[in-house]
Symmetry: D2
Amino acid sequence: MTHLVLIHCPNQPGLIYKVTGVLFRHGLDMVRTGEFVDRLANQFFMRSEVIGEFDAAAVLQELRQALPPTASIRITNNEPKNIVLMATKEHHCLSELLVRHEFGELNARVLGVISNHEVLGDLTRKFNLPFHYLPHAGRPREQHEAEVLAVLAQYQPDFVVLAKYMRILSPEFVAHYTNRLVNIHHSFLPAFVGASPYAQAFERGVKFIGASAHFVNEQLDQGPIIFQSVMPIDHTQSAAEMAQAGRDVEKITLARSLKLVFDEQVFVNGNKTVIFD
Amino acid sequence: MTHLVLIHCPNQPGLIYKVTGVLFRHGLDMVRTGEFVDRLANQFFMRSEVIGEFDAAAVLQELRQALPPTASIRITNNEPKNIVLMATKEHHCLSELLVRHEFGELNARVLGVISNHEVLGDLTRKFNLPFHYLPHAGRPREQHEAEVLAVLAQYQPDFVVLAKYMRILSPEFVAHYTNRLVNIHHSFLPAFVGASPYAQAFERGVKFIGASAHFVNEQLDQGPIIFQSVMPIDHTQSAAEMAQAGRDVEKITLARSLKLVFDEQVFVNGNKTVIFD
Amino acid sequence: MTHLVLIHCPNQPGLIYKVTGVLFRHGLDMVRTGEFVDRLANQFFMRSEVIGEFDAAAVLQELRQALPPTASIRITNNEPKNIVLMATKEHHCLSELLVRHEFGELNARVLGVISNHEVLGDLTRKFNLPFHYLPHAGRPREQHEAEVLAVLAQYQPDFVVLAKYMRILSPEFVAHYTNRLVNIHHSFLPAFVGASPYAQAFERGVKFIGASAHFVNEQLDQGPIIFQSVMPIDHTQSAAEMAQAGRDVEKITLARSLKLVFDEQVFVNGNKTVIFD
Amino acid sequence: MTHLVLIHCPNQPGLIYKVTGVLFRHGLDMVRTGEFVDRLANQFFMRSEVIGEFDAAAVLQELRQALPPTASIRITNNEPKNIVLMATKEHHCLSELLVRHEFGELNARVLGVISNHEVLGDLTRKFNLPFHYLPHAGRPREQHEAEVLAVLAQYQPDFVVLAKYMRILSPEFVAHYTNRLVNIHHSFLPAFVGASPYAQAFERGVKFIGASAHFVNEQLDQGPIIFQSVMPIDHTQSAAEMAQAGRDVEKITLARSLKLVFDEQVFVNGNKTVIFD
């Protein structure tokens, strides 16, 4: 059976030797390993797929002894993640994820869908999943976010996916799900931050549009980028047609980024990511 | 022989009929035509490749009578354009263009190269082209630009190509070559405007870098975009490696944009371009 | 209201003038026109978006008089096409199309789904569409195809879409839907024709995989290509992972090709296509 | 100073531990490591960038003792490779490489250029490099290849680059430079193997053209692929225009593949490659 060993800590000489020594002594065969040192930040990242039978608790304890005390160390069999999806009115990202989930392609269990509008309820129920309609209209933001947090708390998700959830979340909300909140941003960051990106792209006459999937942090649209894609456009397309074209690139970008995240290929490194193939 | 008929004017009903009538009466066969109406701006654009023998002056006169008085109308046999290249220290765009020119692939005659440094003189002279070293150091900007304009005036170029010319040009300078001054911008506009784009891209952790070729107007980096390209990067690349990778995408982006411009496939439409395949 | 005028005929001088004359006399404004002459085959293709009120029958009659007698001439308001989808066991293309259909993004009405297996019935019924299970096992091919043709005949579809329908269709079957049968091919044609394309790609160690959407003609996988896409892969991916990655590119390639076809942007030109932006 | 440790051997448990142990004991810090096991072929590949002062001969000896006897083990400081370029009449790949070489971007020393025609001599001499004109006309293939081998033998190159060398080389010739002979193939392998690929692509109506850089082995065009690229084309392009467009993708594909090879990022694995970022 394949397990993953995931390590992030300050760099020092001999780390990979120490790690591989522990794995070797426990009879594990490392079949795919990525290791990267950010020399500017002096950070060490390692991801190794290992095969063999072993005592995970013992390996973890030995790794803790071998590595710096602040090291983040995880051993996982890459089982499906528990996730909650949040959306507003546009269906394209939500339907992409619900279909992939239906056919077992997401490496995740969708526990439920939260929306501040009702329009995506029918779609969600087609796939026999709970739909939580939590309107924001007429409520203070604090109250609305508290209601969302309460529903999330019931599910205890590993990750929350903002699949075109069009409300800005407060830093307080975000802090509950640090590095566990994935957003799809409707442009090729850092271009066209803010509202109406396709109208901006149309006005500027760009030849490509793109999308960026990223972790959300307290600064809107400034969190670590996980995956980006682009697609060509031209002068014949109206702003509305660009928006339509943009939906294809958004949904595939989000799905690809989630595959990377759920398969544990992504480390957060400050405001950037380290991605192992 | 193939000629091009190029028209840009305010839109009104019947324009294409009037144009094709003139062409037909003169025995011209239209083998590839693009026509586009910007309905928001009410602008009509048409590019037609025609074959046949004809009296160009007579056709032009009839088109002038048939079309609105403000119409821009050109008939051309797409002969090579006369151009001057400007560069600073980086060779990659200049060498790309000099090699293509050497082998007759640019649809242009390079009349000379202007630089504010001496380092690219050897490269230029390998290809037996005049190299004008016009240093800016120790001179007021007005004087330096006047010297550049004086050299350009000798050549009367159709287009001036900024092949990594790293000085900001004044609006007065730019006004001499409206829509005839092509620049390669070291990022995927509108992201990373300004200095050190690769350092910015590195800091932000983006997954693509790009380049944009555009006409220069009085606002720096805000002129009509002609062509853009992107290439993927990842976390393993330093800012210096990103810069190196960026050079490939810059030179190909510039060369492609010039092919479009010199083959008369590009119309300027306000701050955007209309490109006909 | 926007209409499309679509013309394909042998080339001769003056065709575009004759066409635009008819349109102008009927008060139509041409807002986007593509015209292309295949000079080797001497074929003329024209697609024009026109706005204005007009008598379509009268325009059609005048165009028939003006153009060669073998001309194909169509005037359409680009209304949604009637289509039937055929699939076997893989869901990714079918679900992509059903979701787009559900949200009105396909410019088509899906009348029903035909499959030679039962597994996609649940998915189809989620979207309240008829599912026709027509097994091929234990039947002569002629009988099975006759049953499929009988169901198709009930629907009178404009197009039949093979959304991963994994049975080879006889030339007799194909002849019923000449240039109206769209297939998604599991490779970047003409590479890897035949079975197990991802296993072939894995063995060959290619760095990209792709997909091709094409019209089906009597020679398997040899019909006119409508749209192709590629995505990068690398040595770390197994043949199974390549197949999974291939599904993303297949479904988007098929959806894009259908958008082109249903929006009447595609002309068949012998064994190739002419596509107008 | 950065060194590279490169290992390829049959897989067995503990290899990475053994290697890292040797490196650690010699005080080396591993700053970027890629490790991959081809589980079907049971082959182990490892590439590690290490920093520190060390006795390379001692490390090599210890690694030899630690690893299987058939292991390929190299320690290198990634110094520029010695190369010879071969070309025929087309300049685009040769000029791309000569310019990059001129400006120190190739991580290689071009020792000379061999051609079976004279036309690229002027270009080569611009860059002050020896040009060997070795015509094939009127000579038996064996004699011609012997003459080429004799010139190559003078230079003792690490790699020979076929930069659009349009003669088929015999298996006997190829055997002298196993895994050291890089070719640029004028199509997206395995499509359009053989002559006139752009004419084939034009006839088939494909929507992309590509290029493939690969090591040459005894079977023509069947060696391990190093790098591939594609670029979009459309129906408006003639076969000649496709060929012209193809030159851009060929030269960039070749240059990128050489960067990977010269920077020691490529391992040959049977008929495929393993590439470490």
